[in-house]
């Protein structure tokens, strides 16, 4: 029925077993995952400032926002298009409570007060939005969360008292502590990596904790879970709250990265970008959003040069993204991960019978 269930069904068909194994993708069991982790840790030695922040830093932030959508969609069966809105809201709150160039709006709190405040408010926002969204199901959730996201975008455009209208808030202060300016490239990269890793492992842990298992039960059969005594809506709303915390943290990082925020950062297209990132990467595993984010950022950064080189108009970046997204949705119900799984399955089938193993790939 849903995208997730389709993905599951295909996965079960491929794996030949009903039990899915998220553990197989965790760092502890895959040697190449260690390689990726090590590579990410020594990245500042390899990449310079532009690549470090514009590619890898942005990927990690975008991936973390998409991770919050993956958590909701993959484990809760709720496709929420307001995750970027929550991230943007957290960013706005950092700007409003903290220090920025717009002194008439910002309250000038130190970062260690403003950031927790922003996160608390973002979680509140996400929880309230979630409480609204769980009153309906399936495709209705998409519509309502999209309406919330769009309403927030138009509101930030209209409101000058808090959000400073369409000009937004500029020159937002970034934290200095332990004698480090955390806006410097290398420090910021490690900060982003730490937050992304924290969120990734938190989602991974939660997916196997009682709460996550109950949530997956709610996704697969809400009526049975209700009959078993679980409060279905409470689980869903709690999932929204947790996802809002993840999105909020990424939003804080994003506003520290760009040092400004405006309605353009929370536009409807951006909300949909997050869905694209998550779906292209694959929404059955926490690693999917990061893969999707990497592809998205690479495309966004280099599509212009690439299109010009091929002789096309460089402004057609969104066309490329849209077509790529369509292709993924058409051919794989689980994004790049799904394609990879299928490819691995096929090669395994080809190599397993000894007679048929004549060098494919």
């Amino acid at each position: 029925m849903s995208l997730i269930q389709e993905a599951r069904a295909r996965e079960e068909m491929l794996a030949g077993s009903v039990v899915t194994q998220p553990a197989a993708w965790s760092v502890t069991e895959q040697p190449w995952a260690w390689a990726v982790a090590a590579l990410l840790l020594i990245m500042p030695l390899i990449a310079n400032g532009f690549f470090l922040i514009e590619i890898f830093g942005t990927t990690l932030i975008l991936g973390t926002i998409a991770l919050s959508l993956m958590f909701l969609a993959g484990y809760g069966g709720m496709v929420s298009l307001m995750q970027l809105t929550i991230a943007g809201f957290a960013g706005y709150m950092v700007a409003v409570f903290g220090v920025s160039g717009n002194a008439n709006i910002s309250l000038g709190w130190p970062w260690w007060l403003a950031t927790p405040m922003a996160l608390v408010l973002a979680v509140l926002f996400g929880t309230l939005g979630g409480a609204l969204a769980v009153r309906t199901e399936g495709i209705y959730t998409i519509m309502i969360t999209l309406a919330i996201g769009a309403a927030f975008y138009y509101f930030t455009n209209q409101n000058w008292a808090i959000f400073n209208g369409h000009t937004g808030i500029n020159t937002i202060a970034t934290p200095h502590f332990l004698g480090v300016d955390w806006r410097m490239d290398i420090a910021f990269y490690y900060l982003t990596l730490a937050v992304a890793a924290l969120c990734y492992f938190a989602v991974l842990y939660l997916s196997r904790a009682p709460f996550g298992l109950a949530l997956q039960g709610v996704r697969d059969n809400p009526r049975r879970m209700a009959a078993l005594g679980f409060n279905v809506n409470a689980h869903r709303i709690a999932a929204y709250a947790f996802a809002a915390l993840i999105a909020g943290m990424a939003g804080v990082l994003q506003v520290w990265n760009y040092r400004q925020i405006s309605p353009g950062s929370v536009a409807v297209e951006r909300c949909i970008d997050i869905l694209i990132v998550a779906v292209v990467g694959g929404i059955s595993r926490p690693v999917g959003p990061y893969i999707g984010a990497f592809i998205f950022v690479i495309l966004r950064t280099f599509a212009l040069d690439f299109l010009v080189k091929v002789g096309l108009d460089g402004n057609r970046f969104r066309l490329l993204i849209g077509l790529g997204f369509l292709a993924i949705v058409f051919w794989s119900s689980d994004g790049v991960i799904g394609l990879y799984e299928r490819w691995r399955k096929r090669t395994r089938q080809e190599t397993r019978p000894p007679a048929g193993g004549h060098g494919h790939g």
């Binding site: 495709i139 998409i142 949909i272 869905l275 058409f330």
Partner: protein, 336 residues
Amino acid sequence: MSRFIERHPIWSLVILLAIALLAWLIIAVWPPGLEEAIGRKKVFLSAVFNGITLGGLYFLVASGFTLIFGLMRNVNLAHGSLYLFGGYVGYAISAATGSWILAFIAAFIVVAAIGILLQLLVFRRMEGQDLRQTMVTIGLSIVFADLMLWAFGGDFYQIQTPAWLIGPVQLPLITAMKSSGEAVFLQYPMVRLVIFCASVVIGVVMWLALNRTRVGMIVRAGVDDREILAATGVQIQLVFVLVFALGAGLAGIAGVVGGTFQSISPGEDTRFLLASLVVVIVGGMGSIPGAALGAVIIGLAEQLGSVYIPTYAIVVTFLIMVLVLAVRPQGLLARR
């Protein structure tokens, strides 16, 4: 209707009182105290009329959206793109031929043809997978938006209003009394009234077609249970294609209307997609009368909000949606 009054006597009273108050505000000559409190009556009246006529436009967009959703369970998030494309087609035709009516016909036919193609090439292949269909429409809306930006650029276009519709018309509604005791009547643009009447006619015709004709019966049966309908020998695929064509065509017409009312530019697709979403969430998914009610409520809220509380206008619209979701999650006029 009478059953509603029996079931919810207090709500009926509140609704009746609200309607009576609105009617009094529109018809009566305002006492000076009221004018001092909330401003001139002329401002209020034009806001109400703008709201209702905007509601007519929203209805045109949302009725196609809700029709497609009701029958095929397909949240067509590319509906805003169909609206915008209809506007561009209408602009091109009206600029080339100078005929406003021809612009409507062309926009309907071209956008309906796109709807048919979408149904045949895309949605038919993934029937019953509603979430996947929704994703595909998101992808399509991105592609369409960029293609239209490519073809038409980022400019604002306005479709020329025909000469016989230009100018104001005097309505028998008193806005104020001159000191000499002479009444001042409301002047209102003719074209908006004509378009509003046209959208009412379209709405009534759609309602009649759905409730009084054989095709309408088939469509309603399809909304309830399409498997059983298919089993009775109805060519359900044909019905799907026709309904999709009609819904898309209505969006195309709405695009021409929007291009005449306001203007068309990139970004309008998202705006009208959001409007349709809110309208059908408020009115009830898949219900044509619901779309009409939701459209008028949202149109009024938007216009009155932007006059009386300018910086929070969008919040009013949003609060209405929240209120409806909290009280009646299925929408005001939905059956389930």
